[in-house]
């Protein structure tokens, strides 16, 4: 399965990429929101994992653009903020699954399983 990961933090990006690789997925990585949108259009991933706060375009706004470009797959949002603050944000309802930072192997596995179950 092809997974798109977008995070401006190189460490998080590398770690999630490695974890996804170990889980047997093909990974494409972007380092900001607009790059993620371009990559999503080109690579057609099965699942996208987006950081909430990234330069140029936030994860929520990037997801909105991806949907406008026809991406219909599930979205996992990486955040370090509490759920109640997140739910207040405009566009938060479009997100199926939230994954709290710091990312753990089990958390990621569980989020991916839930992402696949929603489709």
């Amino acid at each position: 399965m092809k997974v798109l990961i977008a995070d401006d933090d190189r460490l998080v990006r590398t770690m999630v990429t490695d974890l996804l690789g170990e889980l047997g997925h093909e990974v494409v990585a972007a380092e900001n929101g607009s790059e993620a949108v371009a990559l999503c259009v080109r690579e057609r991933p099965a699942v996208v994992v987006l950081d909430l706060l990234m330069p140029r375009l936030s994860g929520l706004d990037a997801l909105k653009e991806m949907r406008a470009f026809g991406y219909a797959g599930p979205a996992i949002l990486l955040t370090a903020i509490s759920d109640s603050s997140f739910r207040e944000m405009e566009g938060a309802e479009a997100v199926e699954i939230r994954l709290d930072k710091p990312v753990t192997r089990r958390g990621l596995e569980r989020a991916l399983a839930r992402a696949l179950a929603t489709r």
Partner: protein, 348 residues
């Protein structure tokens, strides 16, 4: 919200504890509580809980509002203001936050203005560069600008991204920049070129792309310049690319260049009327021109004709209205209709 729960529990516990303790001691001493004492303890508990709820709300509500505003700014929506009227430290936080947000919004607007001015400056510079090539040959005056304008229109028709439209504009304006090194005798020669002359002339796309290669903001235009003489069937130059292998921007500039060559006077030919030019490019569809780009060209040409017709019609109405207004009062009264129509068309 976690903070509000914590506050609720803490404040309730702190304020209710003495009453509970007192009630317990009373029950010990008297061997049970009478109804009045029980009601007093319970109502104290209730009061403590509602007071705690009030405290929790007054602290967490403004904080939540600040968090909301901070998240909006973090996702790039500068200028967002938070509504907090408390006259305490949280109020100060909100006040400074709003000030910071306004400042960020104004820096952002200033940056956008500067970028726009910078890009306009770039464009003016390359336009004057292109005019230098056009000036070498009276027949091609304005050619670069017309090709750029048409290429951008074609790009819009094909729903290309703003970045692609920008490279079409730059690429269109500069597509013949390589001719700057060509002898004038070749450029404006009315008779067929010799083989040696043709070989030299065929070098201009390569030379042009090399000229812009070193300029960062023109890098995206380089493919349009280098490959604007490639043909869909692969018989073009300099790289002999075919079909989708030719960069799309180059295919578009090629079509715009061909169209402008057909519809303007050249040393070797007079300008063709639109319908004849359309017949010519229709024959090139699939051989020289990308079929999709050709179809976009036809659509754009038809739209241009439509706009021209509408403009002529508007001018005619305006002229009629002017004539009617200038005519003696008696005539104007018998025919008052055209004036508002003309005004309406023009503003529309």
């Amino acid at each position: 919200m976690k903070l509000s729960r914590t506050l609720l529990v803490l404040v309730t516990a702190a304020s209710a504890l003495p009453v509970v303790l007192l009630g317990w001691m009373l029950a010990e001493a008297r061997g049970g509580l009478d109804a009045a004492a029980a009601i007093a303890v319970l109502s104290c508990l209730l009061l403590a809980a509602s007071g705690a709820a009030l405290v929790a709300r007054s602290v967490t509500r403004p904080i939540a509002e600040c968090v909301r505003g901070a998240l909006e700014i973090a996702r790039g929506r500068f200028g967002r203001q938070v509504q907090v009227s408390a006259r305490n430290e949280i109020g100060d936080l909100a006040y400074t936050f709003n000030h910071m947000s306004r400042e960020l919004a104004s820096y952002d607007a200033e940056n956008r203005r500067l970028i726009q001015a910078l890009e306009q400056g770039y464009l003016d510079t390359i336009r004057s560069l292109a005019s230098a090539i056009d000036a070498k040959d009276p027949y091609t005056r304005g050619h670069s600008h017309r090709v750029a304008a048409l290429a951008v229109e074609l790009g819009r028709e094909l729903n290309l991204s703003p970045e692609a439209l920008q490279s079409l504009e730059y690429g269109g304006v500069l597509h013949d920049i390589g001719k700057i090194g060509m002898p004038d005798a070749i450029l404006s020669k009315a008779t067929p070129l010799t083989d040696a002359e043709r070989d030299l002339a065929k070098e201009h796309p390569r030379i042009g792309s090399e000229i812009v290669a070193g300029v960062a903001f023109l890098a995206a235009a380089a493919p349009a310049i280098r490959n604007h003489h490639e043909r869909w069937d692969g018989a073009g130059y300099p790289d002999g690319l075919a079909g989708e292998a030719i960069p799309l921007v180059a295919r578009i500039v090629n079509a715009a260049d061909t169209w402008d060559a057909c519809t303007s006077n050249r040393p070797y030919q007079k300008a063709y009327p639109v319908e004849e030019a359309l017949a010519i490019v229709a024959r090139l569809r699939g051989t020289q021109l990308d079929p999709a780009v050709h179809d976009a060209l036809v659509a754009v040409v038809r739209k241009r004709q439509e706009r021209k017709r509408a403009r002529r019609e508007a001018e005619r109405l305006e002229r009629e209205a002017r004539d009617a207004a200038a005519a003696p009062a008696g005539d104007a009264e018998t025919e008052p209709a055209p004036a508002p129509t003309a005004a309406g068309t023009r503003s529309g």
